[in-house]
């Protein structure tokens, strides 16, 4: 079993939180929507606070920043793709292009990064830092989020 197969098989066995009454938002038309990226790659802007080994918080990445550090603690995924091209994890230039083409309304001024390695119950993200990140995005008028994992 290769590394990706092993990690996928392992991830499939982890406890999965249940959402019994999931919310559903009908967004504005994409051409009018403000779009933000939320990634679990633990990317952060150079000079910002690094991610700790068990970090349930998030970092804000300003729209203009491209000097991002990969702060994820897991050795179990490819770390080179994002170093060859940030967009393969954090498609910020693609969003700028889509906005210039009028396909999306606008690019959010701030984007969000979490660390993907979380405690099994994900309770801090679920109860605290996740809603706080959502409030931050709402303040910025975000309509649509694209979530990118590593």
């Amino acid at each position: 079993m290769n590394g990706d197969q092993m990690m996928r098989a392992h991830s499939a066995t982890l406890p999965a939180p249940q959402f019994d009454n999931p919310a559903w938002v009908s967004p504005v038309a994409l051409a009018n929507a403000r779009v933000a990226i939320v990634t679990s790659a633990a990317l952060y802007a150079a000079g910002d606070e690094a991610f700790s080994a068990v970090d349930t918080g998030y970092r804000i990445i300003d729209r203009e920043r491209r000097d991002l550090v990969l702060g994820h603690w897991s050795p179990n995924f490819d770390q080179m793709g994002v170093k060859m091209d940030l967009n393969v994890v954090y498609p910020i230039d693609r969003l700028e292009e889509l906005a210039a083409q009028g396909i999306i309304g606008s690019v959010a001024p701030r984007h969000i990064s979490f660390a993907g390695n979380q405690p099994d119950d994900v309770s801090t993200i679920r109860l605290d830092t996740g809603p706080a990140a959502a409030a931050q995005l709402r303040q910025d008028g975000v309509d649509v989020v694209i979530l990118t994992p590593v």
Partner: protein, 227 residues
């Protein structure tokens, strides 16, 4: 990611997840997910391929017009990780008095510096600075060859982040040394652990620590779980 999708949706923001593990997306059932069977760490699929990345985003955003959910759609393209080591030059032995891994780490320093100058950012530095990598390898070399790891002076104090910095130093340097096509997922990891003295030293030190009774999380995460 799928958990966050539910949280954001509850806050009034529409979400699309690029799923990387299909079973998780099925179980957590975020409102909209595009499952992308791509190498882990590359959710948009292919570095520097604007068209492919745009295709992923177009398919993801198209899910926003679905009237109800949860929606889980597969991207039609599957990209396997590359299990071959990337073709990449390794410096020849220079100072035979040094352990091979230390000599090697010194030898690739110029490539690391070039990579840093070109990219303007590095992910080395979680535990030690790039200049300290050769010395850190000397410590791991000693552990691999029988020194008690509990009395070894681990630079930076945390062996997991130390191993991250060593591997990242090599992999970022290798970006300047690749003499073939751009590496697929895992190709650079394969090069580090299978072709370099540093990778071999990390694995030997890890085995030595495991055999000496180090706790599982201490030794295990020094390298990917399948090694």
């Amino acid at each position: 990611m799928s958990v966050l999708a539910h949280i954001f949706e509850a806050a009034g923001i529409a979400t699309v997840v690029l799923s990387s593990v299909r079973e998780v997306a099925q179980k957590v059932a975020p409102p909209r997910a595009l499952h992308c069977e791509f190498p882990l760490g590359r959710p948009l699929g292919i570095p520097n391929d604007v068209e492919f990345q745009m295709d992923v985003l177009r398919r993801a955003f198209a899910l926003l017009t679905e009237p109800s959910g949860p929606v889980l759609v597969d991207h039609p393209v599957v990209i396997e990780a590359d299990e071959q080591p990337v073709s990449c030059a390794i410096p020849p032995r220079f100072d035979a008095s040094l352990p091979p891994c230390v000599d090697e780490a010194r030898g690739i320093k110029k490539a690391y510096v070039r990579a840093l100058e070109r990219r303007g950012v590095t992910s080395v530095g979680r535990s030690i600075a790039a200049d300290e990598v050769p010395n850190a390898l000397a410590v791991l070399h000693a552990i691999a060859n029988g020194q008690d790891w509990t009395t070894a002076e681990i630079p930076g104090g945390n062996i997991m982040s130390l191993c991250h910095d060593i591997r990242t130093y090599y992999e970022e340097a290798a970006l300047e040394l690749i003499d073939g096509p751009a590496p697929g997922g895992r190709a650079m990891e394969n090069w580090f652990f299978e072709k370099t003295e540093a990778g071999a030293t990390v694995l030997k030190a890890r085995t030595a620590m495991r055999d000496a009774g180090a706790k599982f999380p201490v030794w295990f995460y020094m390298a990917p779980g399948n090694r």
